[in-house]
Point group: C2
Chain length 258, copies 2
């Protein structure tokens, strides 16, 4: 990157259920997809269990290395929800019930004719000095501690929280993409010319992604990414030519900016 | 764990496409699901881009910390397939075409009336001293270097490779699970009794997993995991009682051993 500002992000997924195979994560994908048009690439992701020392170590490594860190999971009311405490520990700050949050939750539960129990009060605990992140879906907020944003694990809630975070982020140069699909193509058919093109255009990242579901339902997607929007048409034509030279019909997919 | 043998695993997912949001990973889930019945819990996962230094650093951290490491992605024929080289570098060994693999691939491509090109020969490159991992789906093998298993990124190929790896693994105590679903339940409704039960039975891990798709299609799954199979019925009854006490009908789900 030759840009003066090149913010980066890491995603820390927290939860035993992600490592046991019970749950297939979708938060990494939705965070990356949200950040891409802001010019903030996700450079690394980690998944750790509900174990305080593991969360603390990962938070401290990642926040030192990347502009922003997004955590998901572990901010509910149950005994295994320990993310808020771990974030406080990572930053060496205290944690207690946030007056504004606890007033909001008390009001919310009253309206729902539900007891505001000690367990529910846990969701009002926020590391000292943190800024809140609104949760329009289910009430209990996320929070921002320095460059670390702590989101819920439930995908619909995490997604909604991103909307409140977006305006706080320093944006970078947007990466533009083009994808050419070759159904029936094999990577080996295009590896040489694709590698040559990658050498010829070092300002562009070229990726080759095979899929294989069954014989006939297989092929390769060629993806090029660059901050040079002016190059996109030239790149698309070159990738289409590479695919066409194998006898396969190239299909250009809509740029999804991912 | 009081078991004498308690093997652990980490999963390292390699590929720009996982961090850009282009692809939603499924390999972590399928590796964890494969290892669970062998008594090998996945303790951590990382996702890194197609950048050699990042792969090398992650491999070296993870292989020192866990019994086994499983990598996925980056072993195809294109210029961005650099995993084999990174593994060789991490272990400080050389890398070259494996005679057995290159003979097998040459034969395979001959039968397919396809040229065995320099790009395709890249798939025969294996770190020195590595053992092969069979790929019955698309031919080009994975490999085992010390305690690190290198698999393809295409999920169907990665899954097939696990079958060849399973018999090589030291197994541990199998974790048994029970899941009770409460539709319409909120975590706050059961947090106190669940936390009390978790304290009462420290040999059992209790998790609480809310889902929320829309009003009416929301609820909580309570999951208990333990190597004490003899406790499963007692635990199930206690979790069902916790759910029933809220007025919600508990549903016991089939133990999927995940």
């Amino acid at each position: 990157m030759t840009e003066p500002s090149a913010p980066t992000a890491a995603v820390l997924l927290i939860g035993d259920e992600l490592l046991s195979g019970r749950t297939r994560d979708i938060n990494l994908q939705q965070i990356a997809t949200y950040l891409a048009p802001l010019g903030i690439p996700v450079r690394e992701s980690r998944t750790v269990p509900d174990v305080e020392d593991e969360i603390v170590a990962a938070v401290n490594e990642l926040r030192a290395k990347y502009t922003y860190v997004f955590t998901t999971g572990g901010i509910g009311p149950t005994h295994d929800d320990i993310t808020a405490d771990a974030i406080a520990k990572a930053f060496g700050v205290g944690i207690s019930e946030h007056p504004e949050v606890t007033a909001m939750l008390a009001e919310r539960y009253k309206a729902m004719k539900t007891d505001y129990t000690p367990a529910r009060r846990r969701m009002a605990r926020v590391p000292h000095g943190a800024a809140l992140v609104a949760n329009p879906v289910s009430g209990a907020p996320g929070f921002q501690t320095g460059n670390v944003f702590t989101l819920a694990g439930v995908p619909q809630v995490a997604r909604a929280m991103l909307e409140d975070i977006g305006p706080r982020l320093e944006t970078g140069a947007v990466v533009h993409k083009v994808t050419i699909r070759g159904t029936g193509l094999r990577e080996g058919d295009i590896a040489e010319p694709l590698g040559a093109l990658a050498k010829e255009m070092p300002e562009v990242a070229f990726g080759s992604y095979p899929w294989f579901r069954s014989l006939g339902d297989n092929g390769v997607h060629l993806v090029a990414s660059t901050i040079r929007e002016d190059l996109i048409e030239e790149i698309a034509a070159k990738l289409e030519a590479i695919v066409a030279a194998t006898g396969v019909r190239p299909e250009r997919l809509e740029d999804s900016n991912q």
